[in-house]
Symmetry: C2
Subunit: 275 residues, 2 copies
Amino acid sequence: MTKEIDRRTLLAISTLLATGAAFPAAADDKPTGDPRGAIMEIPPDAPKVAMLIHPKMVAIDLIGPMSVFNIMRFNVQLVWKDKTPVTTELGIPIQATHTFEECPSDLDVLFVAGGLMGTIDCMNDPDVLAFLADRGERAKWVTSVCTGGLLIGAAGLLKGYDATANWTVTDLLPLLGARHVDKRVVRDRNRMTGAGATAGLDFALELSAEMKGEEAARRVQLILEYAPAPPFSNGTPKQAGPQRVAEMRKRRTGMDRQARAAAELAGKRLGISRG
Amino acid sequence: MTKEIDRRTLLAISTLLATGAAFPAAADDKPTGDPRGAIMEIPPDAPKVAMLIHPKMVAIDLIGPMSVFNIMRFNVQLVWKDKTPVTTELGIPIQATHTFEECPSDLDVLFVAGGLMGTIDCMNDPDVLAFLADRGERAKWVTSVCTGGLLIGAAGLLKGYDATANWTVTDLLPLLGARHVDKRVVRDRNRMTGAGATAGLDFALELSAEMKGEEAARRVQLILEYAPAPPFSNGTPKQAGPQRVAEMRKRRTGMDRQARAAAELAGKRLGISRG
């Protein structure tokens, strides 16, 4: 995107975003008498949630949890270095609502989405790491989904914590000082990390329940009609079996190598000695 | 969005989209040796999938299935009247890659996402209905998720078919000549309809398996780590229980009334006599 686009249109896009962000909950959940969704305010005391977006991110890593937080009426901010839209793997560009500088200093939730190649770039990017380390130090919750776990780990936010991430990279978590726990969503004190991609829905419901109580989270679950029924049992390496896993690993050795290199470098910077 | 933005920036945004659309599968699934995702072609014989987007749509209705179709390397097109980005309930604008005119005439899959207020607008919009009726007549598969089921119904595409939709509107399906079947994903001949919002993942895996075989769909499931583990059992009216359902219904009587009116009008147009 050129600078010109930046200047000329981002204001208009921001307006769109602002309007949209003020839509009450899901479009299917508007109150009686105001079905067109006249602008409803996010409650002033709504939890401040900063969700890091980054180029090459995986869209559903963000959209899953954001759908939940939106219905919870959390004050969701999409955060990146600048407001040039980042491109997701789906080709759908997503624009930050806040730059790092504009992001509130004290957050209720810091969240990082995945998408391995984008994550690796960020793990090697001092600006991103400094931002995450700073906000993460004070955030009430430090969270991630998918390979976002590697990134908060590289920022030093998982040292001494139980955590999880996308199954393809969980072996790298110890390089960042974390202990991998093989669960869909792992909570350790104020850290909550989710497994790959679609785990974002489970993660966000669990976090919402922790923050606002089970009833509120149950309500969101019903609105999103989240009663999953996958046609197969193939969503984890264990379910898929060794042959399918080996086949997939073979196709991604180059990427896995880069991820390991980035994790090793980050671990060294963090002074983590491998046990 | 103003016309000015349209002209000045959509070309640039289109470029972004085009680049992104050519990303191979999920960012986590790039082949060895080319981990940065140098542009990989969609296979020339890839199934042509047209996904209708519309203002006020619910983002996850689209992003869930699109994430699956993208990893399947289907030729996914986002279709709307024009290329002014539509705003989703999350405030994230999404731009069509193809207008109605540009959309291929013979599709492998016609798909319609939900978001009730947007769906209602479309149910009353002759251009949208004409487009859906035309493409739906020849498409190999006619599909929907969430309240998108109402919309393909209003276009006459569910007359005499079993179907489902978001749980809040399934009672309206008979007005459109369809028989509601209480399942997460309902298939009847070449119609496949999904329940609310998150059912899009289950739907897309099932459709992918039908189109390209179970192994291909299982591979996608592993890449998306789709082994859901919701913290509660509250994703259907039955699971939530009558009290929670009544509470939710109370908040949406205005919207429900509009949905019924739109369905009755559509049913009348289609000459459906209620049994």
